[in-house]
Symmetry: C2
Subunit: 224 residues, 2 copies
């Protein structure tokens, strides 16, 4: 019974996710679903990224949190469209919540929409929001065993950003080994090493973003 | 419908949790439910703790992980009873899993049973396993905004161990502020500052353990 209900929920979610994606494609907006453990640096990455790109591309952010609007408040300084979703204890965002949130955005005016998921390395894996790419932040402070232990999240990611690399040595983390572990679990994932706080480490990430924004605007070259 | 099913699941879980606790009380074994984000240091804390106490008290560990038995393997050196639960993608341990696991343990020979929950700062909050105390590890690398954002987990904890305090300055964390935030969310929580890797920081934690083990063995003075 529980399993049947869960399957029904997933089928419904994924259908709405597909609808969302169609809409995003029509409006030529690149949509990214940012996932991670709590405190791995998603909001900090969005802050640093907006500093670097917000004068060139039009961005908006949907913030997912159990409680509080602290992350959205941190982004108010950029004067971009922001929508806060509070899940009230819920452990992930779902496609229906995104479907309602995007009614508050003028998608046709946007180049890129960041969706910051709830900090949780388990449950968001199963829920397609309609994004084009899933971006997983993996902080080195969490240890090197997370890809094998949180398999579904690492397998569901298109791009994995290894974050807080300035702490790798202190945390006894071998970045080469971490990258091998990620590719053992997900051979096609792209991987970049970053320190979200340090804009000098974000060059490849910004390049990745620009490439993917351009693919949305010329959909013939796009995968979706 | 979904909500009703969820409520049924919780009622059933909590009833089994109560049964587990009765059994633990009869056998005079202290049971701790260790929760945290992924990579906050639960297994490392158990390792350091066993080094300090395993010649004085009889301990066992139930390890909860989505996949792999890596955490249990790390503890094999201590030659204590170990049970691995793999949730196969499930986001928390539940009372029924614990009920089955403890059949593999001789509870009457134990002083203390550590249950290491799945690394997840959301879902384990709702599931009583039958423990006497809930111990939450909170790594300073996760930032200072987690108590307010992950309210249910912080409210459900009896003891909160602020971990990796040697990284606080590097992570720009004010420990006084963190403690105030925790007490704003959960005024009765006990708080200790530790570095799970450094046994010299664990004195108060070991004292807390000993006090609680003794309360189990002299149940007249116990709260449960």
């Amino acid at each position: 019974m529980e399993i049947k209900i869960f399957k029904d929920v997933m089928i419904k979610n994924n259908a709405i996710g597909e609808d969302n994606r169609k809409l995003f494609n029509e409006q030529k907006v690149l949509v990214l679903n940012l996932t991670s453990s709590p405190g791995a640096g998603k909001t900090t990455l969005i802050e640093s990224t907006l500093k670097l790109i917000s004068n060139k591309v039009k961005a908006a952010v949907i913030e997912g949190d159990l409680y509080t609007s602290r992350d959205a408040e941190r982004l108010e300084v950029f004067k971009i469209p922001l929508v806060q979703i509070n899940t009230e204890g819920g452990c992930h965002l779902d496609a229906r919540q995104i479907h309602h949130s995007i009614k508050e955005l003028s998608l046709n005016e946007l180049d890129i929409l960041f969706i910051e998921n709830v900090g949780n390395l388990v449950c968001p894996a199963e829920f397609d929001l309609g994004e084009h790419k899933r971006v997983l932040l993996y902080s080195v402070t969490e240890g090197d065993d997370k890809p094998a232990k949180y398999l579904n999240m690492f397998q569901a990611a298109d791009l994995i950003l290894i974050n807080k690399i300035e702490l790798a040595e202190l945390c006894r983390i071998d970045l080469e080994y971490v990258e091998k572990e990620i590719h053992r679990i997900n051979p096609t994932a792209e991987i970049l090493r970053i320190t979200a706080l340090d804009e000098r480490t974000l060059e490849d990430w910004i390049q990745w973003l620009n490439k993917n924004v351009q693919m949305r605007e010329r959909p013939d070259e796009s995968r979706n």
